[in-house]
Symmetry: C3
Subunit: 398 residues, 3 copies
């Protein structure tokens, strides 16, 4: 019995306070067991050093990128159609909407701009009456087939209740609508603004790792204005030029620009900033990647590509509303900025060492199991490791 357990309480507590408890250890001096033990430990340590420290840089504190993007497209396209005649298209014409509403997210920044590449134009529409486009639902033989006020889910206007000639052979229900109706056929092939492949876009990207007060931009310090005047990004010759030719972007994603331009699509421009801030400042550079984001799967028959309708409104000489309806096909470029920076910090280093030590503790569990069940001398070791006590006292150990 230890001293003073039940009598002088104060002394007992005082004594307990300076008690230091440490587990009793059995040391087994066996080359076999020792080897197993050391190999297991070596594996764990190799894992900690290799995976946690070197690969995952567990000694670093990390921070996500904060970024801000602005883009500026340049280029001129020339079209020559029977409808529109010879026409020049500049930035204000083919970038829709004109402003690039950039996003500023904690994890990721996104900015997107849309370049019109193909279009179906319906000019001089006014609110009046005209014959519906022929379809199963709209073809009629007499006024009885048409219902005044009816509007189908896919119709272009409200039926007036009259059956009129659509052309010499077909009669369809008359509509009250924006007339003339759009002939919603396939978009022109080749695409109208096929010149768009030579447009260039300047991407300005400021990034910040707030935890480390680190700022940088994709126009690297050693790039001068005169280089920026004429350079075009090229993965092998000009990998740091922030000006991209649209065709190059699309082709890096293994797509054909002219094919994509017909029905439109969505391209992703990924800017990745993975920076090790323990390394020199100049090593932190952006990497660019391009891939197609929308599904170009040919079996995707439900409205493939990327298009939308918009209108330009005018007043004609009688102050009556007219509009030019445009079904615009084009490529939306989504600029996505990802990134992470790491820098040495004592807290994660200690945390990872701690976790590693805890893992080393599991080695004992594995080795114990091997020693006590597989080794030939297991009974011998077991006797030494275990002491048995039952409800009534010590069991005889042998």
């Amino acid at each position: 019995m230890t001293v003073a357990e039940d009598n002088n309480c104060c002394v007992s507590i005082c004594q307990c306070f300076f008690d230091y408890s440490t587990p009793k250890i059995l040391v087994i001096r066996s080359k076999k067991v020792g080897a197993i033990n050391r190999i297991t430990q070596a594996l764990v340590i190799a894992y900690i050093i290799g995976y946690v420290c070197v690969l995952n840089k567990g000694y670093q504190d990390t921070d996500s990128v904060l970024s801000s993007v602005t883009t500026k497209v340049k280029g001129i396209a020339l079209t020559n159609t029977s409808d529109l005649g010879l026409r020049i298209w500049d930035v204000a014409d083919y970038i829709i909407p004109p402003q690039v509403p950039s996003r500023y997210n904690e994890d990721e920044e996104e900015s997107s701009f849309f370049v019109l590449t193909n279009l179906i134009v319906t000019q001089n529409q006014t609110q009046t009456h005209c014959a519906e486009i022929p379809s199963v639902a709209s073809i009629c033989s007499s006024d009885k087939d048409c219902k005044a006020g009816f509007r189908g889910p896919r119709s272009n206007g409200v039926q007036t209740g009259t059956c009129v000639n659509f052309n010499h052979t077909v009669k369809t229900c008359e509509l009250f609508s924006w007339c003339p109706l759009e002939r919603d056929n396939e978009p022109p092939n080749p695409p109208m603004l096929s010149d768009a492949e030579n447009f260039t876009v300047l991407v300005k990207n400021n990034i910040r790792f707030p935890k480390f007060s680190f700022n940088k931009r994709n126009i690297l310090p050693h790039i001068n204005s005169s280089y920026l005047e004429h350079c075009v990004f090229n993965r092998s010759t000009d990998p740091e030029c922030p000006i991209f030719r649209l065709k190059d972007i699309v082709e890096e994603a293994e797509e054909d620009f002219q094919t994509m331009a017909i029905h439109g699509g969505v391209m992703g421009v990924q800017i990745r900033w993975d920076c090790d801030l323990d390394m020199p400042y100049s090593w932190c550079v952006p990497r660019y990647n391009f891939r197609r984001l929308d599904n170009k799967d040919p079996e995707n028959t439900v409205a493939p590509g990327y298009n939308f309708r918009f209108a330009k409104y005018y007043k004609d000489s009688d102050n009556k509303d007219t509009r030019t309806l445009i079904k615009g096909y084009g490529i939306r470029f989504d600029i996505m900025v990802f990134g992470q920076a790491g820098k040495f910090n004592i807290v994660p280093t200690l945390l990872n060492i701690g976790a590693g030590l805890a893992l080393l503790g599991l080695v004992t569990v594995v080795c114990d199991w091997i020693v006590l069940t597989c080794m030939t001398k297991r009974h011998h070791y077991r006797e030494q490791k275990y002491t048995y006590v039952d409800d009534f006292g010590l069991l005889p150990e042998e």
Copy 2:
């Protein structure tokens, strides 16, 4: 004393290398203690299996959804007002802005479109002079009450310094402004584009779990084009149709469409992809949810709903700028894509088993405490467990 501790260093280290240390264990053979121990262990194991493995699927590696959304609204609305006369509204008229700038985020994808449901139109505004709308600040009796060049924080233009008749009874300060001024009263009730409730929207959503190279879209493989031609989402009859009637969206969120249409609002369309990729491909399907995002609280008196002003600019016959000012009320639909996929992976499985074993270690702590303080035979056990040593040597153990 162990051999060679202070002499042959090399032999000693070599020997140490093959030392295997394992704690000495006291085994207590008591039904009471054993039962407590096993019950605690059972609880921990049940927690690990039940919560970590089954509920949280700790044996799976997880990945967040990458998604891309495009939307296409269809429908025609008819209005008949004294100002505008009979007028038809199609997609190009009521979707503002025409393009849906979809977002492509790592955690969540968002795309939004705005449907105009109600509007106050002020036609033929030109830059000229007119009388301010009567208010405490603008009513005047003579020119002395008006200050040339003054513009109040809530005024519609710049005062010219003259007091003019607003109508037969009231005189207000004259303004230089876009005249005639908008009569900013309450929006029309019922809403002008009440037909908007029957508009439909096709939501195309491609998702990707990059870690597992898993792609899917919300138009499921077994859905064919002819079904898509006529289907409308219905939670019980057509839960997989990606075409939604606007009224259904609003009503699923327990709102009334016509009421909401008057002042506008913001609706959230949530698409959730929670996929267990250990299960068949076809089990990974999107779930749709709808809720109102803005505050419709009646006490929220400060500009409730969702509206904004925009203008269409014209040149009149004298080449003078005119505009049609529109205060548009409407519903903004925010499409949010959430989701996570899990798939069996050895790393998280081992990690969770490891964490479980560590937790099992805590069982000993709890049982020790019970055994050594609560059991009647605690002194007996304590003697066996502890060996005491003080600064000068072994204490007598009994």
Copy 3:
């Protein structure tokens, strides 16, 4: 040898089931060792309580903010230029695009609006022929210097192949383009819409912590409508007013509004909701912060500021397309909502206590090392702690 190890299996398993294993402990009663032990323990406990519980609020479950923002700008600007004459600018004129496409993210909400502050207007452009702006590439002496159909990367249109007078002294290649060309000089200084500094913006922000079903908005419950009618945010006198004067926003970020207005820029309005939901409801209030997001670095010579081109399209009396090209400079305000809420929850509390106990286990490792290598009585302690066994039996312990 323990009983029944190799014979009656069933009994053995049954007995094993009630075996309770607990490590044998050596208690060292030494003031020195005890003190080191307790000090180390005290440090760990202080760390757990101080850092984990008090600073990091480890006893709380946390949730990120879900938020929705709408903004409303008010104000009138007056300009007087030779081109445009006296002109008034209201919200529909200077907010581009008119709608504020608010974002609704899990971690962060962002909404942005753009206020036009300066502009270069080129009126009455039509598709015709005119002389290119003189530059090294465009100056010519005869038609031979110009190539029909040529369009340079920086040119404004397509060359017709003719060399024409740009003015009395210079001849340049003729273009087919939107003519007259924009004189892309520096933007006006002072900025045209210098009145923009007095515009105000009402920011409505609803937040939600979904895990705690907690909703709040930045228009706090005690703010009444009449206060909102006239208040303007001021960090010292009106810190809760959600109406901001643009000049104040810019000046809080230590920028000069008039300077920034010339070339434009990007301002961040940060709303931070850090709420301890164990505290009263009224303590959860937003904090506003303002900073400039774009790089205003003077060495950033590549298109500083924020501008974009857009056009207003008209039909002239001959039904020919004309447009007014506007190069708009302005300030984009990005409203970012961040935030986290914490509330007491038993799960993270237990988790942190568990992690703390695990950390206490490491204390033994450190103390063991001190005791067994540094203390004068280390041999004495070591003898007691370790029992040695080799392949053939017990080593003599002394």
